[in-house]
Subunit: 291 residues, 2 copies
């Protein structure tokens, strides 16, 4: 199934993090984020709208990004659509090398910024070549269709998971986070059953899906990215009663650890040959920062 | 992939329950168990070896099975292989219409009874036409390859889930239980990645997989049976380091609510036509008790 690209094809990179990324130890995921942003001296805009912690969470990322080499950290926290439509605030995104959206409540993030000058500035930054990323709520918000909230630790059920419009940087995808740790298979399966065009992407904690060119996904970090492809499945999601367990037959699942690459357009592993997997995973050279 | 049947083809029915089945309310799953055992007046052998509760758990099932129509409940609790090789104890299985294995510790159950006179009597009962079932630990024990223990709430990882020989009533299958409620996707995915011939069957709480003729599965109860088919997947499970997240690409997943039927041999839904699914689920006549 062809993926409908953001038009034009984005020059930027997405770094979609499953939450609970290490901020004090080896910091593999955030180190990669800074590297992708350009490394030493880069300028990172941190958007803390989703978080209820406010200055505290801005302080935390300010410290860790500078420790990892960032030259400047812009602290941004629009709290209303009025704030988010302030041209001066939106302009601050203009020369950032990267935008990083914190965790918290993804509905608050999108309700404040989606469709505002600030939201458009984030999108423009991505299209012109900036790195755009987020963790937890900030990860969910990157896709066109966003999981708003929904039951965990349950079998797939009709209508118990709510979605909303996300920032639309990843079309044809729906992102879930804290994936294995909070048992979100059921809710992601229920969403792809209902919308089989959407590719479900569940990201584990301390793990990132790095997406280049709008479609080529590579995994970094401690866990897996779990891809849930319902495009060939059959389901009763169009008629099951509210709350009923769903029939969803024939969903393809891919669990992808660090180093694995997956094409969101073809919905297949990239460069995969069973006989040389070890070689691939162990010795694949790092990508250029600026592709 | 052809399923290797128990030879000869079993005349009995398996009723494999995902644990935490309702024992005080509508008791859908246990009511179905009694119906499949022959209904009013049937004779059910309850095997409590897995449980640490002993007489207490025997009392509980004694009461509920009699309330649901059983005419006789045999209370069996071999606690050692010496007990389990006692011909008199094994003979008590001989005229039971059904054998029901309680929850608890599946390794205790198989370590005490598998390969003993008692274990062979359970197998013989199944082959001659008895209903054999179990819940939780008693469910895991029916398959040839049994999950012994393993991490929950985690991504699939190398070598963190241990298996052992089960009672072997379901060949080519590996059963997990409390499935969605305890987030066991990761561990079941890791096992089918390692043994792609085995079909993974995850059973939700208060839900049963009823298997006729050794291969035709039908679901009853409140949740889903989740089938995990890794026969076409590729994986690094033959070489990943201990504890590392696994690459497993192309696993087919089926979530099956009450009424759905699945053939374990062909690994496909049975009688499924998208256009008449509602009709099938809503109005399929009950099966005969004695098929």
């Amino acid at each position: 199934m062809p993926l409908r690209p953001v038009s034009p094809v984005p020059a930027g990179i997405l770094c979609v993090i499953g939450g609970a990324e290490d901020r004090t130890g080896s910091r593999v995921v955030l180190r990669e984020f800074v590297r992708l942003a350009g490394g030493d001296g880069c300028r990172i805009a941190v958007v803390a709208t989703a978080s209820s912690l406010g200055e505290e969470i801005l302080d935390a990322y300010d410290v860790v990004f500078r420790e990892l080499g960032a030259g400047d950290v812009l602290r941004l926290r629009p709290e209303s659509r009025t704030d988010a439509n302030d041209p001066a605030l939106a302009a601050r995104i203009g020369d950032a090398d990267a935008v990083f959206m914190t965790g918290g409540n993804q509905l608050k993030l999108t309700q404040v910024v989606d469709g505002t000058a600030f939201g458009e500035a984030v999108r423009a930054a991505y299209l012109r070549g900036a790195l755009v990323g987020g963790t937890s709520a900030g990860a969910s918000a990157v896709s066109e269709h966003m999981i708003a909230f929904g039951d965990e630790l349950d079998t797939p059920r009709q209508g118990v998971t709510a979605s909303a419009a996300g920032l639309g940087l990843l079309p044809d995808v729906i992102v879930d986070q804290h994936f294995s740790q909070r048992n979100r298979y059921g809710r992601l399966l229920s969403l792809v059953a209902r919308s089989p065009r959407l590719l479900g992407i569940g990201i584990d904690e301390d793990t990132a899906a790095v997406v280049r060119g709008g479609h080529l996904l590579e995994v970094t970090g401690a866990g897996c990215v779990i891809v849930v492809d319902g495009s060939s499945a059959v389901s009763d999601a169009h008629m099951a009663e509210l709350g009923a367990p769903l029939l969803v037959s024939g969903v393809l699942v891919h669990t992808l650890p660090a180093g694995a690459r997956f094409d969101l357009t073809t919905r297949r592993l990239v460069d995969f040959h069973e006989e040389n997997l070890a070689h691939q995973i162990a010795s694949r050279p790092p990508e250029d920062d600026d592709t």
